[in-house]
Each structure stands twice: as structure tokens, then as C-alpha cells.
């Protein structure tokens, strides 16, 4: 059973459906106790950092998520979920949860032909092996929709990179926390396989 953290941040049902498709039963909840005691947690989200942080503070889900991280619960962040797990976001000038060091900045591109948001299918290159991203082949593409990009404070927290003008971090993690900037629930079968691996993950990363 996985708890999908509800913080009024968009299409949680698509994450729930994808979980069901890979045999992972899911409950959508903002209740701190449900999150703190969950077997595993998905922290999804589409929307803006400012309102997301307000909503997480109001329900207590933000503190519960930090507690789940500290007690070793396997957690998967997706898109905005990834972004607000770092310390700061330029979006709405927001202090965020700080599970890991780092910040989030808007894409600033020199090429006038490149559009922001970065929306569509892009390749993901794993640079540090991780059980949840295991099996991703060169050329496998995932679906992205975002105008801001994560910049982890520690290079060793970067798990995968993608290229949009230059390289950017498209997956990160440490210990029992792993997160993707792309949307596995909208990335076809390669995305479903990632969710499948998360469903089996014990929260450990071999050093």
C-alpha cells in the first residue's frame, strides 16, 4: 500500500491509476498520520511551489513527510514533489521542505527556439545506479512538463540527467528518498516499469 500525498496540486488520480496498473494499491491522503505510518509514499504534484507549501503547512502533511523521510519510509517524489523536497525554489521565492540540500531555478536558455516550459519527451541518462531507475536503457524517453529545474546541493545526490540546451538534473535522491523531474505515470511502459521498481524497493541504496 502506498500513500499518495494530497496537497491540492493537480492530477493525483493519474498517479493512482498508474500505481493500480502495476499492482500497487494506493490511497490519496493529506492526513499526517496516514503519511507518517505509510509503508511507502509518493509525493507527486503539478502546480506552483508557493501554494503547495501553504497547503502542506495547513494540513500538516509537510511535517509528516519529513518524519517519514527520517524514519526510512521509501518515498518517491515526482515533478513539483521533487522540487519542493529541496531547500528553496525561485518560483514564488519559496523556502521549501529541505529533505535534501539544493535549490530550484527557472530555465534560462540562450537559444530563442527553445521553449519554456520544457514540455514533451526527453531522454534520461542514469549517471549513478539506483534500484528504482534500474533497467532504463539509453534512448528511453520520459514525459516532462516544467519551467523550473532542480540544482541539488550535493553532486552525489544526482541520479540522472537530461539535456535541454545544457544538462540538468532529472532524477535525484539519497537514502530512502528518490525523485524524478519527469512524470513516470505519463511516460508509457518505461514509466510504469519505474513505478513497479519503486513498489518493490526497500528504501536502501547499495553504496
Amino acid at each position: 500500500m502506498v500513500v499518495i500525498v494530497d496537497y491540492d496540486a493537480g492530477n493525483l488520480k493519474s498517479v493512482e491509476r498508474a500505481c493500480r496498473e502495476v499492482g500497487l494499491s494506493a490511497e490519496i491522503s493529506s492526513h499526517p498520520n496516514r503519511i507518517r505510518t505509510a509503508e511507502r509514499v509518493i509525493f507527486p504534484g503539478v502546480g506552483a511551489a508557493g501554494s503547495a507549501m501553504r497547503s502542506l503547512a495547513a494540513s500538516g502533511a509537510g511535517r509528516a513527510l519529513v518524519a517519514a523521510f527520517e524514519t526510512g519510509t521509501p518515498i518517491l517524489g515526482i515533478c513539483l514533489g521533487l522540487q519542493i523536497s529541496l531547500e528553496y525554489s525561485e518560483e514564488n521565492d519559496t523556502d521549501t521542505l529541505g529533505l535534501l540540500p539544493g535549490e530550484v531555478r527557472r530555465f534560462r536558455l540562450d537559444d530563442p527556439n527553445l521553449k519554456v516550459p520544457h514540455m514533451g519527451w526527453n531522454a534520461v541518462r542514469v549517471i549513478r545506479p539506483h534500484p528504482v531507475l534500474d533497467g532504463i536503457q539509453p534512448g528511453d524517453e520520459f514525459y516532462f512538463v516544467h519551467a523550473y529545474r532542480p540544482i541539488p546541493g550535493k553532486r552525489t545526490d544526482v541520479i540522472a540527467e537530461s539535456v535541454y540546451e545544457g544538462p540538468f538534473c532529472s532524477a535525484l535522491g539519497r537514502g530512502n528518498y528518490v525523485a524524478t523531474q519527469f512524470h513516470p505515470e505519463k511516460s508509457g511502459r518505461v514509466g510504469l516499469r519505474l513505478l513497479e521498481r519503486f513498489a518493490e524497493w526497500d528504501g536502501r541504496v547499495d553504496a
Partner: protein
């Protein structure tokens, strides 16, 4: 870098897949849910449903179709047709649509674009434009005019200025649908697509007229579109999604080739 997208459009009427030629003579050609699943498994990048019902009964049916498709298709779903309010957009999002297409109602009341963008995010609001060729004039300097109500009502609005206005109001993407090319299978309207693509900083989806694989190449390369939308080409079994993608990839277009 981003791949170009192949998008299939399913026109749905009373729960059935329909296809029109030049926006009239619609006929039923199958079960939209089964088609959606088939295309998804064959490597489709994105799916668009267009609800061509005006009735309230038809509205309920499209929600059921979207819900059924969202259960088994894990790529972005976009839905349009008759979206006139934030409530319409929100209902479709709850049913499982990622992106919402606005068209006629946004021409009649442009504030709809901003209201939807505020409610569901800029990137999820697609401004779909039905456009016909006209003689360039002082009112219509680009030589292209916006038409609404499924291609029946010319609005006297210049397509180029409406595209720019749509972007300014918060649309995250444009669908450029040529009425002149729709259903002809003679190729997309390249001049129109290129003109609009060069005028905005949001992605442009070319629609209407595809009949051969090279038509897709032409609009993605020369027409500068970010995505090509097909319907008849794949609905009748003349071409497959994976075959089209292989063709484009073979001609050097960056496509997603593993799924």
C-alpha cells in the same frame, strides 16, 4: 533534447469514433477506447479526444470515454470540444485529461483562456484554432481567418493576431487546424503552420491534411511544428503509429523510438 511528438486525434460522437472530411459528413469508424489503447501500445506520444457533440447527454459520454481511456493509456491525454468554462475543464481533468483544449468559446470570450490557465496551469491549456485561407486584407493581413462552431462560422479575426493573443492570455500550446486541408490527405498547410510557429514561443501542433508519411516530415521540418496530429491516416489502418515514427526517425527527425 525534446523529441517531436506524434499525436493521434480521436473525434468522438455519442461514444463512437468519427471522422469528418472538411468538417462535415462525419461517420462512425469504431470504438475510441480500443483505438486509444492500440495506438498507445504502438508508441503514440500523446492522444487528443475531440467531443463533437453539442448535447448535454454527449458531454457525459465523453467524460466516460476519457475515464475509460485514462485507466489503460499512460501518456498525456488532451481533450477538447465544447469547453466553455473552468468547470468544464475541471470535470475533464478529474476524468483523467491532462490538457484541455479550448476553441470556439475562447474566441467568443477570450478571458476563458486565462481562467483555465489559472485553474489548471498554463502548460495544460491548449488553444485550438480552426483556420481558413482568405484574401489578405486590412482586417486579415495574414490571409488566414479564425472560424468557430466546427468550421461553420467565420469570425473576421486574423489567425496570426489571435495566436499571439492566445499566448499572451496564457495558452500553453497551440493547435493549428487548417479547414482547407482537413480530410483532404494532401498535406498540412505548411505556410500557415510555419507562420504561427515563428510568431509564438509556445509549442505548435499541426493539424489537418496528413495523408502520407512525408507530409508529417514536411510540417515538422519545413513547417517548424513541434508535433504533428494525425487521424484518418491511422484510423483506417493505412498506416501505423510505429510505422510513421520509424519513417520520421529514418529521415532524421528526433522521435521517441523506444516504448
Amino acid at each position: 533534447m525534446l523529441s517531436k511528438r506524434l499525436i493521434a486525434c480521436l473525434d468522438v460522437r455519442d461514444g463512437h469514433l468519427a471522422k469528418s472530411v472538411k468538417f462535415v459528413d462525419t461517420k462512425n469508424i469504431g470504438d475510441p477506447v480500443a483505438k486509444a489503447r492500440e495506438y498507445y501500445l504502438d508508441g503514440l506520444d500523446e492522444l487528443v479526444f475531440y467531443d463533437i457533440n453539442a448535447s448535454s447527454e454527449g458531454r457525459r459520454i465523453i467524460l466516460d470515454v476519457v475515464e475509460a481511456v485514462a485507466e489503460q493509456v499512460f501518456i498525456p491525454l488532451s481533450v477538447g470540444g465544447g469547453v466553455a468554462s473552468v468547470a468544464d475543464a475541471t470535470d475533464l481533468r478529474l476524468a483523467g485529461a491532462e490538457k484541455i483544449n479550448v476553441n470556439s468559446a475562447a474566441v467568443r470570450r477570450p478571458a476563458l483562456i486565462g481562467e483555465c490557465a489559472e485553474a489548471i496551469g498554463d502548460q495544460n491549456v491548449v488553444l485550438s484554432m480552426d483556420i481558413r485561407r482568405v484574401e489578405p486584407s486590412a482586417d486579415m493581413p495574414s490571409g488566414y481567418e479564425i472560424v468557430i462552431n466546427g468550421g461553420r462560422k467565420p469570425m473576421g479575426i486574423d489567425a496570426l493576431s489571435w495566436a499571439k493573443e492566445g499566448e499572451r492570455l496564457g495558452a500553453g500550446e497551440l493547435v493549428v487546424n487548417s479547414i482547407d486541408a482537413d480530410g483532404t490527405r494532401e498535406g498540412y498547410e505548411l505556410n500557415l503552420t510555419r507562420m504561427l510557429s515563428e510568431a509564438v514561443r509556445i509549442p505548435v501542433i499541426a493539424s489537418g491534411g496528413a495523408g502520407e508519411p512525408d507530409h508529417l516530415y514536411d510540417v515538422l521540418a519545413d513547417g517548424k511544428a513541434d508535433a504533428a496530429l494525425v487521424a484518418s491516416m491511422v484510423h483506417y489502418g493505412d498506416y501505423t503509429v510505429s510505422g510513421l515514427k520509424r519513417h520520421l526517425h529514418g529521415r532524421g527527425v528526433k522521435m521517441r523510438m523506444s516504448w
